[in-house]
Symmetry: C2
Subunit: 410 residues, 2 copies
Amino acid sequence: MSVSASAPGRTGTPAPGGPEDRAARVALTWLAEPGNRAVWALVEQAGAPATLDRLLSGDIPDARLRSAVSARAAAGDARRMAEIAMRRADRLGARLVVPADEEWPRRVADLATLELDTGGRINNDTRPPLCFWVRGAWPLGETLERSVAIIGARAATDYGIHVTGELASAISQDGWTVLSGGAFGIDAAAHRGALTAGGRTVAVLACGIDRPYPVGHTALFDRIADSGLLISEWPVGAEPLRHRFLIRNRVIAAATAGTVVVEAAARSGAAQTMSRVLALNRPAMVVPGPVTSAMSVGCHEILRNNPYARVVTNAAEVLEEIGRIGEYFAEIPRGPQRRHDHLDEEAALVLEALPRSGTSTPEQLAAEARLDLRTVLRRLSLLEIAGLVVRTADGVSLAPARGPSRAATG
Amino acid sequence: MSVSASAPGRTGTPAPGGPEDRAARVALTWLAEPGNRAVWALVEQAGAPATLDRLLSGDIPDARLRSAVSARAAAGDARRMAEIAMRRADRLGARLVVPADEEWPRRVADLATLELDTGGRINNDTRPPLCFWVRGAWPLGETLERSVAIIGARAATDYGIHVTGELASAISQDGWTVLSGGAFGIDAAAHRGALTAGGRTVAVLACGIDRPYPVGHTALFDRIADSGLLISEWPVGAEPLRHRFLIRNRVIAAATAGTVVVEAAARSGAAQTMSRVLALNRPAMVVPGPVTSAMSVGCHEILRNNPYARVVTNAAEVLEEIGRIGEYFAEIPRGPQRRHDHLDEEAALVLEALPRSGTSTPEQLAAEARLDLRTVLRRLSLLEIAGLVVRTADGVSLAPARGPSRAATG
């Protein structure tokens, strides 16, 4: 299909980041849930305004999207809804951030190539956000660049609340942003731990930022907006529908350098978030707990089911995991030589163990570098993210001299 | 060197399991600590009696062993000590079990090929036992065939004691022998849990079975000997010297189908035992605990440092791990066809994913079989133990048609 065919009456695409682009992105998130694969593909191809035209014209190849859009379109005029949302946001002191903006967080781009073999509509609609609504003074991108997510159960125990508070305080004192979902229990303890330490914290909502949910956290959300950021993909007025928390979770996984789950019940949302963290090759950290505690069952499930999920027991171990990945991101703009200088010793050993040409297997590298297999696998993920190695069907090899690849390879 | 040269005046080697062989093995464990590599190599080559002759003649290539033996020899006549030990054991109702005996436990043979890159004399003297002293009615081999070790800290918490008791009871009710080291804390809770459930339990001592240590467990040891087994590699009268617990630990790792550590302090003996369990490709299972508990620090260390160590939270998960390996051992005598029939589904998927000829990598197999990498690695270990696959420098391949290899491949 061609762009012109998909954008009747439109000549050329308006400037990304311009008023039309911004309004169209808001309208699109009102017409279809964020993360929708079909919408994202169209926006990538033709831009937001042309995509909005096309969706409203009903010329939609994807049947599921077509019915969803027609249902919403019947409920109101998408463009008008966008205008209202933007005016209401203005009055709230909230701003709209789009990919063309300086402060757009670049990590969420990794969602573009995220593939999960989990079934279900929500589970597969994991494409990047079209826009963010933001309350708070800090630039969004800079604030998320050094951020770690701390998530967990609403029905947390004193143990979980205590451990979360300690972790959040220490991590934010180290200059990292503590990000969470604003829910009761672990989420709230994470936000409060960072606030108490005078650090930055970000709450990612699954509804309009004008209607904080849970309502009991209204005061907490105001404190967060005052000293950190309150963000959401949904236009003001959007309700905290159950499925939206699952959609929101992909942003928690993708916007941060790593995610820590402190307490989780069996088969909880935390496991779903962690599957995204792992698929993105980000550090997936789990705080263990008593096997006699129902609130640690989910944590132990994640550890038993995911070879890359890592046990963490204190802030130093969390900082060790996310610190490395942080360095790698920071190093990416530099030349390979400089980047080598900044490799941690184990990563350097793995890199040295790789053949100048041809491929090797993680097990061969472990033997060669005299490291345990898990260490090799974690370093390989980081080296891959740093663009120093590439993974192929045959194994792992040194990356070609050209700039680093950032493709997610979960 | 030739056997005749190493056995002055001896013509031929006496029958293994005969009186001379038995007495020589006792004398050898009195002259040198069990597990000694040099002694074991000589016994393998020339038999126990010839090795004893040689050691007593002072013709000992290994300098460390030579000085150790001469020091002991100065303290008494090895053959006389052996006679005394055997008479005392008789009076105690204890029996000597040697490799030639029907009831010799075959799993300990895997220590013959165990290689560890950890430094230190004790850490490297991990060769198989020369003999076992046994108190109790059950046949040693049959009792250890379906056994699982449950070990941990002496200074255990109520949490650790509770979890250990629950695990030991459930595991022994499933027909498995619960083996431990007879120490205070977790060890005692494991033995008691099995006794309470009316199951079989085995205590592996690091001293003569005539002088139970700790003395406070004298009554417990008597109960264990009445309904299970009390065993030791050391002749009666041997003292519970500190280093002997580390030597003893290799037997706990090798004699069982798998080992569970419930609570452990930082850098504890449990970690040393687990490193042997992992090197033997046996299931290394760890019960997590509160990160706020000093008695769980060692458990979390083991999980963080060993990719193959597995989190277990209840008896069902332990039985899942050791049950599989148990099946595989049981299947070994059968033909490959029959063994295939008994593979668990995941192992069967891994086996199917292997190319008929040539090698594959665990990562390729994971992709091919649509299993996570850890599952593939664990199944490969079991398939390897079952002799169905072999690991080479290039990767993993199907084993040749000939009978299964039982070589440890840690």
